[in-house]
Symmetry: C2
Subunit: 243 residues, 2 copies
């Protein structure tokens, strides 16, 4: 079933009209009267509709059923990633969205080579949010994950520590596994934090411990900075019984 | 500690000389006499050495200790991926190597858009093997995963079914989870098979069942063809107690 993100307020007396990019998308799909589509509001509600009328500029739909999205995970996972080089953050935003993350947060750390300045940041954030929205649509998410940028490592630690469980992955940690952290308490929300290409400094890891994050290993192989968060996210979703 | 892949036969009376690309790499790292490096033969053995002499074209090392690689997983995971479009296979080879796969096998299936012809295949295989070798070196693997290409879907099923556990992921399977499959028997080797962009045909899924593969879900979100194998591999490594 084709999926479209809309605002809940677009639905008036059980009718919705797709316009703009949604209408273009509908045209590409050659939707015909009588076909069913799924509308999502990006906050967890969805509507099964059927196509009433399919025009060039607008497609009119009738709501058949309203329901809570069935594709959201039972656990909220927030990805905290130090600014990586090049387009790796875009890659992680796309994949983490597919894999079910609720939020993706980028922040600077001591060894970050790439630090977008404030001027370019606004444009980049818009672009990143679009990538999340498009990946959410393609993968059938019920929400669009939020993409955020924080001004400092300290702020990232402070915010990450507010979830039920907060984990920092560090390549020099060998004793505490992700499994130990996940089994240490029950949780509904978890933050997964990873460093940049050059890794985190030892004092940054100490800072994380002091802020209440658990420092864990992701195994004996060194993962690239864009691989680590997606590996951890996949494992958390598996551990949470998602598949 | 810097790592280099060598042939075990390069070691003569406890001495090794790095030449060619290894020597260039050593030069980039500015290795100095007295520093320690790790040599791997790509089949699971490794040698801790110290630098005796560091010249422009060659670096001489003395073996201090021979040991079995400590970075290989306790479980052998074989990735079976239907030919994807573009450079996605290269992406999966790099990431699956980091994540600990033992073998990566590409094969054609009914809806594959991309099918390299025999002429281009030889060159591509060489390139893919180089990507695996480079990722193995960077991530600290004890072996270089084999990259293989099979001529048919039937051959892929036949070969995959020879591991202790063989799993096919299918987006229309909702009942059987990866966890159920992994907990259904003890295993040392597992094959993880995924389809191309357009998915697998229903009759291909039936064929897989008949060949003895378990058909599983990877959750309620639709994963791209390059995300699914890496998600499954991460989860299997987690389930196997790797992190």
């Amino acid at each position: 079933m084709a999926r479209f993100f809309i605002n809940a307020s677009d639905i008036q007396s059980g009718q919705v009209t797709l316009t703009g990019s949604n209408a273009s998308h509908a045209r590409v799909l050659r939707l015909k009267a009588g076909e069913q589509v799924l509308l999502c509001d990006g906050t967890g509600m969805e509507w099964i509709c059927d196509v009433q009328d399919s025009g060039l500029d607008a497609v009119t739909l009738k709501v058949l059923e309203e329901r809570k999205s069935t594709s959201e995970a039972s656990v909220e996972v927030h990805i905290y990633m130090a600014f990586p080089k090049g387009d790796k953050l875009e890659h992680v935003i796309q994949k983490a969205t597919e894999l079910g993350a609720t939020k993706i947060v980028a922040f600077p750390s001591a060894r970050c080579v790439s630090r977008p300045d404030e001027k370019s940041l606004k444009k980049k954030l818009e672009r990143w949010q679009k990538i999340a929205a498009s990946a959410a649509e393609q993968s059938g998410r019920g929400i669009v994950p939020a993409v955020e940028v924080l001004p400092s490592y300290a702020k990232a630690l402070e915010q990450a520590s507010k979830t039920d469980l907060a984990i920092l992955f560090y390549e020099n940690e060998h004793a505490t596994t992700l499994r130990m952290a996940l089994e240490s308490k029950s949780f509904h929300s978890v933050s997964l934090m990873t460093g940049p290409e050059g890794g985190l400094e030892e004092k940054e890891v100490d800072q994380a411990s002091e802020a209440g994050l658990q420092v864990c290993t992701l195994g004996s192989r060194i993962l690239r900075c864009e691989t680590a968060p997606l590996c951890a996210l996949s494992a958390v979703m598996y551990a949470a019984g998602e598949f």
